[in-house]
Amino acid sequence: MNNKVTKYLLIGIILIASFLRLSLLGDVPISPDWDEVALGYDAYSIMQTGRDEFGNFLPVVLRSFDDYKPALYAYLAIPSVKIFGLNAFATRLPSAIFGILTVLATYFLVKELFKRRDLALLSSFMLAISPWHIQFSRIAFETNVGLAFNIFVALFFIKGLKRPWLLSLSTVCAALSIYVYQSEKVFTPLLMLVLSVIYFKDLLKASRTHLIAALAIGIIAIIPMVVYVTTNSGALLRAQATLAFSDKTTFLKENITRLEYDRETGNSLGKIFDNRRILYIKTGISGYISHFDLNWLFLTGDINRHHAPGMGLLYIWELPVILFGIYSLLFYRKREIYEKKSVILIFAWFLIAPIPAAFTSGVPHAVRTINFLPTYQIFSAFGLLSLITYLKKYKLIIGSIKVRDLMYVAIIAIMMFNSLYYLDKYFIQQNYFYAYDWQYGYEKAIPEVTNIKDQYKRIVVTDKQPLDKSYMFFLYYLKYSPVEFQKIGKLSSGGFGKDHMFDKYQFRLINWDEDKNTRDILFVGVPSEFPKNIKSKKTIYYPDGSPAILIVDPEDN
C-alpha cells in the first residue's frame, strides 16, 4: 500500500468518523441528560463570569450535583457554546471532535506500534464505526475526552522514544486526562506505569534533560488538582459514593451475620474467611471479571443511556474475529515486523482497562471502562487481517467460483448487515425507545411554561424521575443569567437531593393532595404525580405517544 492510497483511505475514514459523530448531533440522542446540561451550563457560566454556578472562580473541579466533575470538559465546551449558543449540539461538540481525533490518533498509534499501514487503517476504521465509541462521542460525557487523552499519551510516548521532546507532550496529556474524568485518576497513572515498565530500556537511552523536563511538566500540571483534592474534603465524596462498599450496612450485613455465627460456634476458620477484607478482595475481582461478559459486550450493554437499543458495545460479528485476533497476536508474531513490546502493551492496556470500575457499584460499566478502546478494535482488525491471510491459502474452487471469494463476500455482507442494523437502532429506534432514559421533554415543556409564566405567582417543577435535577434543565434551556444564579448558588448548601429555587421557579416533589388546593401556582410534573384524568394546560408526549410531562394549573381541575 503506497503513501497516497493510505492517505486517501485515512481521509475517507476520518470523513466517515466525522459523519457518524456530527450528523444530527443535537437530535440523537433525543435530549441531553442531566450531566450534559450541567456541563453545558457550567461552560456558559464560566464563559460569562469566569465562575461556575456556585461562584467558584476558574474551578478545577465542578461541584455540580455534588458529584464533583473534573472541570476540563466545561472549559472545552466554551468555544462551541460561544459560537453555537447554549444547546445540545454545542454541548456535545467537544466530545464529537475529540472522538474524531481519537480515530485519527488510533491510526498513528497502531502504525507506530505494529509498523503496518493496513492494520492501522483497519483499526482506526473499526473505531470510526464502533458502537461503543460512537455512543460516547455523541454525548457530552467527559469519558470520551479522557480516552482521547490516553491515546495521545501512548502515541506521544512511543513517538517520544525517538524524538524525546514529545515525552513532555505525553505527560501533559496524561495530566489533562486527570482534569477530564474521574476514572482517569486510576487508569492514566497505570497506563504511564505500564508504558514506563515496558519501554524502560528505551527510556534510559533518551536524553536526561528531556526526561526530567517531561516529568517536571507533568508534575507541575497536576499540582492544581492535587491541591484541590487535598484541600476539599468533598472532592472525593463522589468517588467514595460510587464504590461498591460505600453503603457499609447493606454491603456487610450478610457478612456480619456469618461472623456472628462463626463466633457463636467457635469456628476459627470462619473468623478468617468471613472477614470483611476478604469480601473487599472478592468484590474487586467480581467487578473486574464482570466486564468480560459476552452479553454486555456484544448484545445488551448496561444502562440504556450507554448503548443503542438491542445493541451491545461491539458488533456481534466481531466476536469470532476478536478471538482470532487475540489468538494470532499471541501466537503468530512476525518478529521482523513488530516488536514483542507492542503486543505486551496492547494486552496490558486491555487488562488494566476494567480496573477503575472494578471496585465501583453498577458494574459492568461502559463509561468507566471506555479505555478498553481501542484494544478491541485492534484485536478485530488484527483478526480480520489474519483471517484474510488465512483465506488466501484456501484455493478450493467449486464450478468456476473460488470458495475464497464467496467467503469474502459473506464476511463483507455480514459486516454491512450488522452496521445497517446498528445505524437503524442508533438513529431511528433509540429516540423512540429511550426517550425516557434521556430525560426527554424539557425542551418542549419549558417554552410552554414561559409563555404562561406571567399569569402565575410561582411555578413548581418536580424533581421526580425521569425529571430529576430539573432546576439544571431550566437554567440550561432558559439560558438563565449565571450572575443571577450564582447569587443563589453561593448560598446553596449543595446540589444533590436538595430543593432549588430561582426566579419564580421552585423545584421540589409535587404532593398533589396538598398542592391541588393552591392558587396562582403552575405545576410541572410527571404523569404519576397527578390523578389519572387530570386536565393539563399542556402535555408533552414521548415519541411513543405516552405522556412525559404535564403542565397543570390546579384551578382547572
Binding site: I289, S290, D293
Partner: protein, 551 residues
C-alpha cells in the same frame, strides 16, 4: 509433574486413590442434612423409587414405566428413580438414600474423568491427574452431586459414553456398543441429555468417520442397538405432553418479541430493508444467543454461581476464582497445541450449553451440567501448560519457582476451603428456606398427634405438600393410589388434593367447618387471628416458617 511421578513408584495410583477418596468424602459427608432438606423433585424421585421397589409401579400405578414418571405433571425421565430403588431398599426411604445415586455416580464421574482424559490426551500423562483433582473439588460438581439431581447421573453417562467411544475408535471397536448404551442411558435420565447426547454422538462420529466406516460391523450393530433402545422414549417425545412442557419454558413463546419487531419496522417506515433487519427471526436469534452467552458469563462461572441457591452457595462461582487465569491459558494453549483429540473439548462444551439456552432461566448450572468436565479439562490444560513453562523457566523465574508454586497451591487451598466453609457451615443455615425446610418437622409433628384429629388440612403455599407427606410417612403406595384424590389441570399438571384424612389446598378455611376436630398446617403469615397455635416450625436461621394450629 511428570518428574515427580517418575521419582516415586506407584505415586500416581496413590494420588488417584486420595483424589477419589476426597471426592467421595466431599459428596457423601453430611449428605442427609446438607442440603438441609429435600426439595419436592427429590421427594418425588425418592418416593417413586420406594413405590417401584414395592410393586414395580410408580406412585400413580403405572407398571414399570420406561418412558416417564408423571410425577407433578413434569414427566420426569425415569432412570434416577430406578437407580434409587436399591439404596432405598438398603437405607430405607430417607434423604440419604434418595440422594445416594447422585453422590455415588458423582464420585464415579470423578474416576471416569481420569480415564476419559487419558483417552483424550494420551501423550499428556499429568493432564488426567490434574483434571480429576480439579473435578473432585469443583464447587459445581460437588453441589450437584449432593442432591438428587438427575442431571448429575446423566452427566456420568455422557462422560462414560464419550470415553467408551474414544476407546472404540482408538482401541477396541466393540466398545462402541457400550458407548451407545451409555449415551442412551443418559437420555433416560435427564431431559437436556436428550439433545446433548445425540449431538455429541453425531459430532464424534463425524470426527472419527474414517475409523467408524472401517468398522462396518460394529457401526451397524451399534446403530441398530441404539435405535431399539431409544424406541420407548421416542414415542413419548413426539407426544403432546412432551411439547407442552417445552412450550412452558422456552424463550420463543414470548409475544413481546413479535410486538417489538413490528414496532421497530414501523419506526423505520416499513421499508424493505427494515423488514429484513427487524425480522422476528433475527430477534429470536439474538434472544437465543443472549441466553447462550448467559451461561458463559464470568460472574456466573467464577464469582456468584447460579442464582438458584440449590445449585450454588451464592458466594463461590461454579468454578473457583483460582481457576480464572488457568482457564484462560488453557483455552489458548488447547487451541495452540492442537493435540490429537483437542477439538472434542470445545465442541463438547458448546453442545452442552445448547439445550439450556432455549429456556428462560439462564444461566443454569444444572441444565448445562452435560458440558462437564470440559471446563475442568480446560483449567487443567492451563495448569499443565503452566507447570511445563515453570519447569523450563530460566533466570528470575527459575529462582522464584518454588515460592511461586507454593503460593499458587496455597491460593487454591484457601479458595477451596473458603467454599467448603461456606457450604458446610453457612449454607444449610442461610438457604434452608430454599430447600423447603420445615416440612419434615411438621409431618413428624402430625405423626405424633394425628390420632387426636379427624382431619388434617395442609396449605400448599410451599408447594406440593402431598409428596412430603408420602415421603416422610413412607406411605404405602397402594393405599395412596386407593385413597388419593388426583386431578390434572389443562396444563397437564397433577394436583393431589386429598389422601384419606389429609387435605391439601390453596387457601385454608378460617372458620371451623363442622364439629370435627381439625388440625391445620399453614404458612406463618396466613394464620388467622382466631387460631390456637399448637406448634411453630422454624427454619435453620431461626425464622418461623409455618405453624400447626386448630380453630
Amino acid at each position: 509433574m511428570d518428574r515427580v511421578f517418575k521419582k516415586i513408584p506407584n505415586i500416581s495410583i496413590i494420588f488417584l486413590c486420595i483424589v477419589i477418596f476426597l471426592a467421595a468424602f466431599l459428596r457423601f459427608y453430611q449428605l442427609d442434612i446438607n442440603p438441609p432438606a429435600i426439595n419436592w423433585d427429590e421427594a418425588a424421585l425418592g418416593y417413586n423409587a420406594f413405590s417401584l421397589g414395592i410393586d414395580g409401579r410408580d406412585e400413580f400405578g403405572r407398571f414399570l414405566p420406561f418412558d416417564y414418571l408423571e410425577s407433578f405433571g413434569d414427566f420426569k425421565p425415569p432412570m434416577y428413580a430406578y437407580l434409587t430403588i436399591i439404596p432405598v431398599k438398603i437405607f430405607g426411604l430417607n434423604e440419604y438414600s434418595t440422594r445416594f445415586a447422585s453422590a455415588f455416580f458423582g464420585t464415579f464421574t470423578v474416576l471416569i474423568t481420569f480415564f476419559l482424559v487419558k483417552s483424550l490426551f494420551p501423550s499428556r500423562r499429568d493432564l488426567a491427574y490434574i483434571t480429576t483433582a480439579i473435578l473432585a473439588i469443583s464447587p459445581w460438581h460437588i453441589m450437584l452431586s449432593r442432591a438428587a439431581f438427575e442431571a448429575n447421573v446423566a452427566t456420568f453417562f455422557i462422560i462414560v459414553g464419550v470415553w467408551l467411544f474414544l476407546k472404540a475408535v482408538q482401541e477396541k471397536p466393540a466398545f462402541l456398543l457400550l458407548s451407545i448404551m451409555s449415551f442412551v442411558a443418559s437420555a433416560y435420565t435427564f431431559n437436556s441429555a436428550r439433545i446433548v447426547a445425540p449431538l455429541l454422538l453425531v459430532c464424534l462420529s463425524i470426527g472419527f468417520r474414517k475409523k467408524l466406516i472401517s468398522q462396518k460391523k460394529y457401526l451397524f450393530s451399534s446403530i441398530v442397538l441404539g435405535a431399539i433402545l431409544v424406541l420407548p422414549i421416542a414415542f413419548f417425545l413426539i407426544s403432546p405432553q412432551a411439547s407442552l412442557r417445552f412450550k412452558e419454558v422456552n424463550i420463543f413463546s414470548d409475544i413481546e418479541i413479535l410486538k417489538l419487531s413490528n414496532q421497530e419496522m414501523s419506526n423505520s417506515g416499513n421499508k424493505m430493508w427494515a423488514k429484513v433487519i427487524h425480522n422476528r427471526r433475527i430477534v429470536y436469534a439474538r434472544e437465543y444467543t443472549k441466553h447462550y452467552f448467559d451461561n458463559l458469563n464470568p460472574s456466573f462461572l467464577f464469582d456468584k454461581g447460579d442464582g438458584n441457591p440449590r445449585f450454588s452457595t451464592q458466594d463461590v462461582g461454579q468454578m473457583y476464582k483460582w481457576d480464572i487465569p488457568f482457564f484462560v491459558v488453557g483455552i489458548l494453549f488447547l487451541i495452540r497445541r492442537k493435540e490429537k483429540n483437542w477439538w472434542i473439548v470445545p465442541i463438547w462444551m458448546a453442545i452442552g450449553i445448547i439445550p439450556a439456552a432455549f429456556a428462560r432461566e439462564t444461566p443454569h448450572a444444572l441444565r448445562i451440567e452435560g458440558s462437564l468436565p470440559t471446563f475442568q479439562i480446560i483449567t487443567a490444560y492451563g495448569v499443565s501448560e503452566f507447570l511445563i513453562w515453570i519447569e523450563s523457566a530460566k533466570g528470575l523465574f527459575k529462582k522464584i519457582k518454588k515460592p511461586v508454586l507454593v503460593l499458587i497451591a496455597a491460593v487454591l487451598i484457601i479458595n477451596s476451603l473458603y467454599f467448603l466453609h461456606g457450604l458446610f457451615v453457612h449454607y444449610p443455615r442461610e438457604q434452608s428456606a430454599e430447600w423447603l425446610y420445615g416440612y419434615e418437622e411438621s409431618i413428624n409433628y402430625i405423626n405424633s398427634v394425628e390420632n387426636n384429629y379427624d382431619k388434617i388440612y395442609f396449605d400448599d403455599f410451599l408447594g406440593r405438600p402431598y409428596i412430603y407427606m408420602l415421603f416422610y410417612k413412607k406411605y404405602n403406595p397402594q393405599k395412596f393410589r386407593e385413597l388419593a384424590n388426583v386431578t390434572r389441570d389443562s396444563f397437564g399438571f397433577v394436583h393431589v388434593k386429598k389422601i384419606g384424612k389429609y387435605n391439601f389446598q390453596d387457601a385454608l378455611p378460617t372458620e371451623t367447618i363442622s364439629d370435627q376436630k381439625v388440625l391445620y398446617i399453614n404458612e406463618i403469615k396466613s394464620i388467622p387471628d382466631s387460631a390456637r397455635i399448637k406448634k411453630i416450625f422454624y427454619l435453620k436461621n431461626k425464622q418461623p416458617v409455618m405453624a400447626a394450629y386448630t380453630l
